[in-house]
Assembly symmetry: C2
Homo-oligomer: 381 residues x 2
């Protein structure tokens, strides 16, 4: 029965008059915003039913990843503008798809929010603790329009960040959950598609493979330091939120708006050159160890070959994390261009046979060879 | 290359020696537990890579749902044993699949945990606030074995609850995320499959349809009241957690271990009798309103026909929520058995034409006809 499967039209949001309660009003608002961001033929039914319905091509399998972002752990309300929190939450998931060589199909967002951030007054960009989260001053016109629209600037700006990146990678926000929570919690779920048996796995590396990274490393860690300094110097003016210099330093941009390497992952998968791949979310030292663990191999990294981001240190490049570059291996005879889909590709080391007598990951420096311990992001450490 | 797609074998968990950090150790532990719970041919790659890989049959589409469970909102650490929190988190997602008539394929869990709940000592079933979360006393042997296993009883028991229900509905836990969090947060993501165009939607109801519910209503709300009373009377003995009477009252079981109506949803979809469906998670009054909104219709409910759970009141049956029964409509000439897959099916009302002159949902009582306002679960209210 075709009729039953007709996706709810845009008029359906008018069925939730605001007086029905603020959760419904909030859901209707999100639904309308997501709908205005465009649809995608793979999503046959989005927000508004018990489940979303997603289509898959014959011969493809689905790649699924979930990423939790928690206030105080993955971001700070006092440091990160809401757009940035939204952008980064989606970037993490897209980066996981990139590392599999998968094409994004849809995103789902479970969002837990303190009541204060959903209030409709313009004081609502204050968090419950009283710290301010706005990343820039609003013009009066903007503030007025947000008040007229009747929704909290915080949540509007959060969705601005999510939806701008979603549009860039043609990834519809197809559903999720919304709940009141003492702290801001966002779980981003990404679905992607990849031809059956062709996904790039962590477990494909073999001794002799060359190790490559895309882009440059350490920028996000350096940018986080810059952000903290900015916050410290502007402490007195915190009542209006952090003010960013007009031209953001590249490292600050790396931290605030990391670009997932989706197109690079697709290129590597289509050209069949990558034997194994992972994205650098926890830091090179930690993620290379993950790849070695899953492949049952060891590795060595040449410190001199690392593409360290402008403004970053070697240690930030080795352990910083959140750069969302791809780390991949290729057979020794594979030929790689210098750039893939606009991103530099740099050979940084090689895969070795595993042995209890040598370090799992070794770092080669002018001073010699040392063990590179995983010192990246670690929960519960 | 087949070899690259070989799922990591059970030996792979030995590649994370415990000294590598407790997050890795915890992940390895979860991975091993999930692996021992059995696999599923639809999940070609589970925990251990950037994404999981899931297969879909030709002609099927995928149903996707996410459900946030947050401490203090959806459960209380001082009230709910960890098995119950795990069971209920998965039950919510399975119930959403049931309401679409979808077959479960895989679950993904994003879990945020306070450090205290992942500590390895036996004091770890204390929360950071010092309240106790164990639902029963451990025997000495159990406690010893848990200490030897080196993991927190809380997280072990949480996974006990998730995995027992997952096994019952042959739903592998195929991935997710793990993060440190000030409060317990669990986002459960469910994937299901349904023949293309055959999903049961909220939007399919038409004037004249009869309204049905499975099972009985109000039990979960009554059970929650019982649980709170139990906690109040045992306050002095709280140091060892709540002690449950040997034979749990049915209402208490409805609250602690709700059974998602997966098989009933599949039956309804296969037999093509349901025109629209939703699960009763927020309460009949709220969920029937959702269905009416999505279908553009109104409804009336006969109070005398409602299957009220033993020990529950009419108000609990109307507004209580968390019963996870199915509410569905069928054309007036449809013939339904008294039971579907073991659950009673009761006709409770009918769908009406929508009009601004009458209530959206009306309740018929011996006193006459009144408006049934949505008074179920509402965030940000």
């Amino acid at each position: 029965m075709m009729e039953r499967n007709r996706p709810p039209g845009p008029e359906s949001r008018h069925r939730h008059p605001p007086e029905l309660g603020s959760e419904l009003a909030l859901l209707a608002r999100i639904r309308a915003r997501v709908a205005s961001a465009g649809s995608h033929w793979k999503v046959r039914l989005g927000i508004g039913d018990d489940c979303a319905l997603v289509d898959v091509n014959p011969g493809e399998e689905m790649a699924v990843t979930t990423d939790l972002s928690i206030a105080g752990r993955h971001f700070e309300l006092a440091l990160h503008p809401p757009e940035v929190i939204g952008h980064r939450a989606l970037a993490r998931g897209l980066s996981d798809l990139a590392a599999m060589g998968a094409r994004p199909i849809a995103a789902f967002l479970s969002l837990g929010l303190p009541k204060g951030l959903t209030a409709t007054a313009n004081r609502s960009h204050k968090t419950e603790n009283g710290s301010l989260v706005s990343g820039r001053r609003f013009t009066r016109a903007e503030t007025t329009s947000k008040i007229i629209r009747g929704f909290s600037p915080w949540i509007d700006r959060f969705y601005d960040g999510v939806l701008a990146l979603a549009r860039e990678f043609r990834t519809p926000l197809a559903g999720g959950d919304l709940a009141e929570s003492p702290i801001v919690v966002a779980d981003m779920v990404l679905l992607g598609a990849v031809p059956r048996g062709k996904a790039l796995l962590r477990s494909g590396a073999r001794p002799g493979d060359a190790i490559y990274v895309t882009g440059s490393l350490g920028g996000a860690a350096a940018g986080l330091e810059m952000l903290k300094e900015l916050a410290a110097t502007q402490k007195s003016g915190a009542a209006s939120g952090l003010r960013f210099p007009l031209g953001l330093a590249p490292a600050l941009t790396s931290h605030l708006y990391p670009q997932p390497r989706v197109n690079q992952g697709l290129w590597l998968r289509k050209h069949g050159v990558a034997a194994a791949a992972i994205d650098i979310s926890d830091g090179l030292s930690t993620d290379l160890k993950h790849l070695c663990d899953e492949s049952g191999v060891a590795a060595e990294v040449d410190a001199g070959a690392l593409p360290v981001s402008a403004g970053a240190t070697l240690l930030q490049a080795l352990h910083g994390g959140e750069d969302y570059e791809l780390l991949f291996t290729a057979r020794p005879n594979a030929r790689l261009p210098r750039k893939v889909a606009g991103a530099a590709v740099t050979r940084v080391g090689q895969i070795l046979r595993r042995s209890t007598k040598k370090p799992l990951v070794a770092l080669i420096t002018p001073q010699g060879r040392e063990s590179l311990e995983a010192q990246g992001w670690e929960h519960f450490a």
